[in-house]
């Protein structure tokens, strides 16, 4: 039982990261019906930019731990958001009217390009965050050893997700995003500037992805230029699991996938962990192609 609970918290920590990244996939897919393959790499950029800013500006020394990390996070999110916007302009907008395949290939190309740019700048070796910034202690909760950092990670991702959810549900711009996700044409007729919605989605998604990257860097310490691929794959799986295009779905899908992985590792096999995750994905697609929270929409014929 104790191990079960411990694994549950392990899974939630990993799942929180997946969920943050999954939000970017699901928003872009919702509005553009495009798998933004490069989203995972924007996440990696978040991690690398975070490292560079952290070491060059020494924010935590000047502003203290919490303020330093907060300012750092805002800077990283802003920069990655700009990067996302550039990506949309360069690789996706010109292909808006093209067949789906073109956009998919362009996205894949963008992913490869971004990844290798990073490699040429920073080198192929992994990079390491300074290890003296964060508290590396654990506290005891009903017999469970819970690292402080993990609580911070989960808290931070939950706060960001809830903020996003409220933004999407309660504000006018959020409603516009939802409308554009349901029917772009109709949204345009209703006077919604779809281009602005897309731009916004490409700012929000990458910002959250960048924040996730920074969190991974701070928490795990070790980052490398290819890690966006694995995280991206998992996050996309999470998005489908929850029902792609559905924002609460991405959050639940992410957390669930993290837990499934941890439980799979604990009670089935560690080596088969990724295979288990993919099997779950395929099963979901077979049994309930719309995901857990997605609604069935009739194909227009």
């Amino acid at each position: 039982m104790e191990e079960f609970l411990q694994q549950l918290t392990n899974g939630l920590a990993v799942g929180g990261i997946y969920a943050l990244i999954a939000l970017g996939y699901t928003m872009v897919y919702g509005v553009l019906k495009l798998i933004n393959f490069a989203h995972g790499d924007l996440f990696t950029y978040g991690a690398y930019l975070g490292l560079t800013l952290l070491t060059s500006l020494a924010l935590t020394d000047r502003l203290g731990f919490f303020m330093g990390v907060l300012v750092l996070a805002l800077m990283v999110m802003g920069l990655v958001a700009v990067l996302g916007m550039i990506l949309e302009r360069a690789a996706y907008r010109p292909l808006r009217e093209s067949p789906r395949l073109s956009a998919v290939v362009s996205a894949l190309g963008a992913s490869i390009f971004l990844q290798n740019t990073l490699m040429l700048i920073y080198g192929a070796r992994f990079q390491v965050y300074p290890d003296n910034i964060l508290p590396v202690t654990a506290f005891d909760l009903f017999g469970l050893q819970i690292p402080v950092m993990r609580v911070l990670i989960v808290l931070a991702s939950v706060v960001m997700m809830v903020t996003l959810y409220l933004f999407i549900q309660k504000t006018k711009i959020g409603t516009a995003i939802r409308a554009a996700a349901i029917d772009q044409g109709a949204a345009r007729l209703m006077g919604i500037d779809v281009n602005r919605v897309i731009l916004l989605v490409f700012l929000l998604g990458p910002a959250l992805g960048g924040a996730a990257g920074l969190m991974v860097g701070l928490y795990y310490g070790q980052i490398n230029f290819t890690m966006g691929w694995v995280y991206g794959m998992k996050a996309f799986t999470a998005a489908i699991l929850g029902g792609i295009g559905n924002i609460p779905g991405a959050m639940i899908g992410g957390l669930l996938l993290g837990v499934v992985e941890a439980m799979g590792a604990a009670y089935l096999s560690i080596a088969w962990k990724d295979a288990i995750a993919f099997c779950v994905l395929i099963l979901i697609l077979i049994v309930r192609p719309t995901g857990l929270l997605g609604e069935r929409v009739a194909d227009k014929i």
């Binding site: 990993v14 003296n132 654990a138 690292p147 993990r150 310490g221 070790q222 992985e261 941890a262 080596a271």
Partner: protein, 375 residues
Amino acid sequence: MKKPLLALVAVIGLVTGGVAQAADAIKIGLMAPLTGSWASEGQSMKKIVELLAKQQNAKGGVLGKQIEVVTEDDGGDPRTASLAAQRLTTQGIVAVIGTYGSSVTEATQAIYDEAGIPQIANGSTAIRLTEKGLKHFFRTAPRDDEQGRIAAQTIEKLGFKQVAVLHDSTSYAKGLADETSALLKKKGLKVVFFDALTPGERDYNAILTKLKSANPDVVLFTGYYPEAGLLLRQKRAMGWPVPFIGGDATNNPDLVKSAGQEAAEGFYFLSPPVPQDLDTPEAQAFLADYQKQYEEVPASIWAVLSGDGFRAAVAGIEGAKSTNGGKIAEYLHKSLKDYPGLSGPVSFDEKGDREGEVYRLYKVNADGKFVMQKL
């Protein structure tokens, strides 16, 4: 149809045009992972071999001729490596040094053997490489079973009873894990956990939690240093004090960077000695030259072993007084005994394996330095 033709002609033309033969030098090939996952090892290999060649040439080369090093990238991938090997064999090399990964080396063995070119691998420890009866294959790296023997012996000597074994499913780590746990069981120790992690991930908490519930005295991790670093760091965050022992693939200063000094302190690993720990004049001199030239220390022992491969190859050419691959190989098998290498004396047995005990036990101290332990 017009364009593919033109492009094809262009491709064929360019491919064929590239190779020009340099005049009258003895060419030694180096096959190394200059790109890919193990690029840092490959880059170090290149630096070391090039420096050694420069020094040798300054001393007059070999057989009165200058040495030219021909480097090819194997990308750390068998398919690329087999192409690299084909390319090297067409460039008139006398011997070849490399490469790092076992399966990568394996993809090239037959090509060099059929071409009659002696190959001296530096990082490939898989047992089967030298069990095929290939006349032209050597390695300066020890075999996995040797490391397994030492690992089991060390764990026993350190007084551990319940051992958890973790590998990463790569052929090297799996082989070492299998070998060691078999020996441990023979010695009457208990292997309470045996499984693999997926390399390239960040979060190993799920695995550590599972490991912890198996309640071992010690964890033997046979994988590579990036994962070892993460494991140590997350183990500390969990507040779990169990000692870890690593295989030789964890011998890399980046391990400490990744884990953080506090988490890395007390980590044991087995490895052939790094040049810093060798008091032979060869090693000391080379280390000084290397630092002067490149302003850094070699990344790992495996790159240094490619230097030993190079020195052995030169010694073989000189000893055989020939550039004939068969004669060089015969000399290396039979006549090269205790040649002073950077990592200690170098001799090869009839299989092409390196003779003698090379493994040492290291421990990471509070400053993050690797300190050799007396066993």
